[in-house]
Symmetry: none
Subunit: 198 residues, 4 copies
DNA sequence: TATGAATGAGCCTTCATTCAT
DNA sequence: CATGAATGAAGGCTCATTCAT
């Protein structure tokens, strides 16, 4: 039961895994303790409550990832290189730790109000990039919220498809295709090739 | 408390609303009964269990919508008109009953295994359309799963953005933009306009 | 397990008994349910919480008893008859339901702030009687709070002595002795008989 | 956190204070450790258990006080001087350390069986004094248990009134009044002054 | 069908206590 | 002696479900 890792790390890992596998509400503290190889009471030495564990897990990683994405773009200039870097990094992150990625996706839909919009939010990072791109005339679209949603959809839905076995991991296989699909989707002035239809 | 609608319909409506507002697990049978204006025990005259209610609500509507989408395409021919019809109908469905739409989106992520892939599944309907489109040479992409994910992302993420207030309803406002964005995204041979980058 | 009494009454009786026997905090909801012959969850159909049960049990009886004492005095006039009636009634109450009496004594020391001073409080009833007595010149003492404490002590300490087996029940045996002891104690002008001391 | 006092003393003080403030059961070992500025485990270097701490605190002080009261009476003779000395000392004790006084009062109602009756018990000391007084013909009453209860009530209820703010500390203000009230209450042959009643 | 009191398993959390450092 | 993380039993409470009316 005891392995080398510190207690907190074992809670962290077990929680991430179970929350993604069964859902947050569906995972009991009993489940958590069992999976982490600790007693139930032990969890409360590290987190004030189950909710606190979820919030901490989410906020810490969500924020860190947002900061990482922001840092990544500092040396780059222009919409295209920055978007490419963003997508590449997000896909790499997914492949490095799919469980964490899915947890963030999962909880985002429940715990969003906890995290204020701003630089700490990966979605905001993307949104700001898009806004800047529109201002610089790099995009055909003029609604930043719509453009952000499109990019998000083109990135996250393939990730979801992997979860359900409709697409084969790793996600990074699709980095280039998704990147160029984003560029095309956003460029409303482009001329789609004429296609045959019967 | 009593209104004109039959009991079953009132359970249906209350459940949909509460499940979307608070989550399925977070909604208790007591909540349901209270919102529907019935006694707790009464729910069990209509559904074998809470799970059964969820499953029934999901399956019935998910399937019906899939059939509807299939029927819609029968008179149409070719990828483009069919995709346009699909998107138009999905967006219209969202705007007509956002609660049901969100419920389907929500439960899909938990109850998916219940619904076998096939004609009863809206995602499958899209998938088959895409497969046919590829076979007919109407799309630049060759991976139907990836193309399906892209279209799905371009449709669903704007719907999600509306939930979080990042985009203004109705979703139908974006039908044309999303439709053409799908076409561009899927057309890997198209030439994105040259853009300035600094 | 089932007897004829309604559930609420059985909870009431079991709670009173256990609270007095073991203390409020020391009595678990599990204990309560077992003693009342009901399931744990059943308690929560009748009381919002364990605290609520305690508060309700206390407030209801404490208040009712205060009202009863007040009513009792309406037809009487003057300090002495009223005090005699008060003591007689309090002792009779003790003997009729010693468990309830002890519960009120017990919880009073923890839940006092819940019950505002006033006509709903047996101690206040006594206090007001004493105040009136002082105003009418019926007492030697001039501090109503002190006089109230004295009477209270002369009544309650014998009740306590019965609990600990230092005095034999019923308490009513001592009604007259305590009543006259109160009168003597309160009459600071009286001349205690000269007594021999060796 | 560390102050000059030895660990045991700090536990002692913190325990007394918290037990009186919140109740024994309501005070956790964690509360105790925090208030005493020690680690939770440290408490167990000094006491075998929380119960043991309570018992020790109670027995030690209860016994010591009984001995003190006994010693106090050795040089005095006769019921009256001894009672006066007793009351004076008890009230002084209350005022010197109200927290300890209240703790003794509090725990007495829960832990009494632990302490055998006898010379180690302040109540017994009073009881014996009363018995001797009756034997010597110094009291009007003939039931020593009842007389003891009366004296106890006349002393303790004012102390209780101070806790609840119904009377102003210090208790010693009332020494003489309570002393003479005891004498009058115990003297069943005394003639209460005739009072007016309307 | 409808009701709503009753059920008891299970949930999150707290607690007194232990023990390796 | 002191520490504080770890323990797991027990606590109060909620829940989906049953059943007599």
């Amino acid at each position: 039961m005891k392995d080398g890792r510190p207690t907190r790390q074992r809670i962290h890992d077990a929680a991430l895994r179970l929350f993604v596998e069964k859902g947050v509400t569906e995972t009991s503290v009993r489940d958590l303790a069992q999976a982490a190889g600790i007693a139930e009471g032990t969890l409360y030495r590290h987190y004030a409550s189950k909710d606190d564990l979820v919030a901490d897990l989410f906020a810490r990683n969500y924020t860190a990832f947002a900061h990482h994405l922001t840092a990544l773009q500092a040396p780059l200039h222009g919409f295209r290189p920055r978007l490419a870097a963003l997508i590449g990094e997000i896909f790499r992150f997914h492949d490095d730790n799919p469980t964490l990625f899915r947890f963030l996706l999962l909880v985002q839909h429940q715990g969003l109000p906890r995290i204020a919009d701003g630089a700490d939010n990966p979605v905001s990072v993307l949104h700001e990039l898009v806004e800047q791109g529109i201002k610089d005339g790099d995009l055909g679209l003029t609604d930043p919220a719509l453009a952000t949603a499109m990019i998000l959809g083109l990135m996250l839905q393939p990730a979801t498809a992997i979860i359900y076995g409709r697409l084969q991991a790793p996600l990074s296989r699709f980095t280039d295709q998704i990147n160029s699909a984003c560029l095309r989707a956003l460029d409303s002035t482009g001329q789609p090739t004429e296609v045959h239809h019967g």
